[in-house]
Amino acid sequence: MWGEYSTGLLLVLVAAVIGFVALAVETDDLHRLLLLDLVEIAALGIIALLGSDLAEALILPGLTVGIAELLALSQIYVTKENLKDRPVRGLNIEVIQKADAPAVLSAFLVVYGLILSGFTGGGVAALGLVFFFASRGYKEDLEMLEMAGGISWAVWILAFFVFMFLPQYWFIALMCAGVGILIKVMVKLSLSGTVWGERHG
């Protein structure tokens, strides 16, 4: 009587209810924000249960809206609590700054992201870069990275023009789009954390 979908739905709903109960019990504002992020994942879980191309197409905007709300709320939290005098300068942990582990982990993530390619790969590779920048307290000029992001975006757009007007060259366009979106997402995600820290620092 219970299909896979129903079982999965029940699990996700139970997870959501647990999240909401935690939210009701918690009184600290910052912790509630963090818990909300967990609850949000349950929403993405319900969409993901569709298990089709449509689900993938719906998760992306859902995730974007969630992140946008989270960013807006954390900005309000910073203003509300007057936290402007606390600059963000990477993780000041000596072990992480000196050890090789962050470099190895970042390299692994970047290589894995390159293999995955496309949007997901960009996200994974960006995670590696963000971790590396955060652990090393990277302070150099990031203009080169920004430029690479701009050019890869142009390549991505160019690939779409090829799809529309020269469909017989679809394979090269596919490769261009895959690599372009990979670099663009990677650069954008890694900059969003780093540049923000610089400006407030």
């Binding site: 993405l44 569709l50 719906l58 905007p61 709300e69 807006a72 900005q75 309000i76 939290y77 509300k80």
Partner: protein, 218 residues
């Protein structure tokens, strides 16, 4: 087509993005458009605080930066409302509703008053948690009927939409900012600046009117 709010006069199909104009959605769309234009052209009110027991009163000054940011947010809110009014896709409707929620927070968040900031933050928490039932409802619509298009759902050939999906949709919309259900939202109206704050209420009202149509479909 009977269960839509009137017969669609015009259906715009652009890939997956489906937009239709029926007398009902056109009316709501024009209302949102009018108020967005008003928010663009009007100047912010200057709230007056009267001291009790005397004749003294002060006028709050709104800085140009603050005014610009809030006007931008009000326009974004108007655009999101317009989108929610005419879209024919259940998931897009939930996305636009979530965006109305964010912009409502944004309209008041620029005000540098601790009360307003705190209320905006609490409201933001509720709006963020409301995306769970909202997106969940859209996913259940797709899972139960196989379609998110309101036109398809209204034809009556698809399986019926489960009541729980409709209930979740309404709960989500209520969470995203239905004025009467909110203590926090009333507190937010301490923020000065009439045309922008009114945009919060108007967008909630419009979204509520539209969701009444959406839940009657299918």
């Amino acid at each position: 087509m009977g269960s839509l709010g009137g017969i669609p006069l015009y259906v715009l199909e652009f890939g997956d993005e489906l937009v239709y104009f029926s007398p009902y959605t056109i009316t709501l769309f024009l209302l949102a458009l009018t108020f967005t234009l008003l928010a663009i052209v009007s100047r912010p009110e200057r709230q007056v605080d009267v001291a009790f027991g005397g004749d003294a009163y002060t006028t709050k000054i709104i800085s140009v930066d603050e005014m610009r940011f809030r006007r931008f947010m009000a326009i974004a809110c108007g655009l999101a409302s317009m989108g929610a009014m005419v879209t024919g896709d259940v998931f897009n409707f939930t996305l636009f509703t979530a965006m109305v929620g964010i912009t409502n927070v944004g309209i008041v968040a620029a005000v540098k008053s601790p009360h307003v900031q705190d209320a905006a933050y609490q409201y933001g928490l509720v709006a963020l948690s409301a995306t769970v039932p909202l997106f969940g409802a859209a996913a259940l619509y797709a899972a139960a009927t196989g379609s998110l298009s309101m036109i398809e759902l209204a034809k009556g050939t698809l399986p019926a939409v489960p009541l729980v999906a409709k209930a979740l949709l309404v709960i989500g919309v209520v969470g995203e900012g239905m004025a009467p259900f909110y203590a926090a939202k009333a507190e937010m109206f301490r923020a000065p600046g009439a045309p922008y704050v009114i945009m919060c209420s108007l967008s909630s009202l419009l979204i509520f009117l539209r969701v009444a149509e959406v839940v009657m479909i299918g």
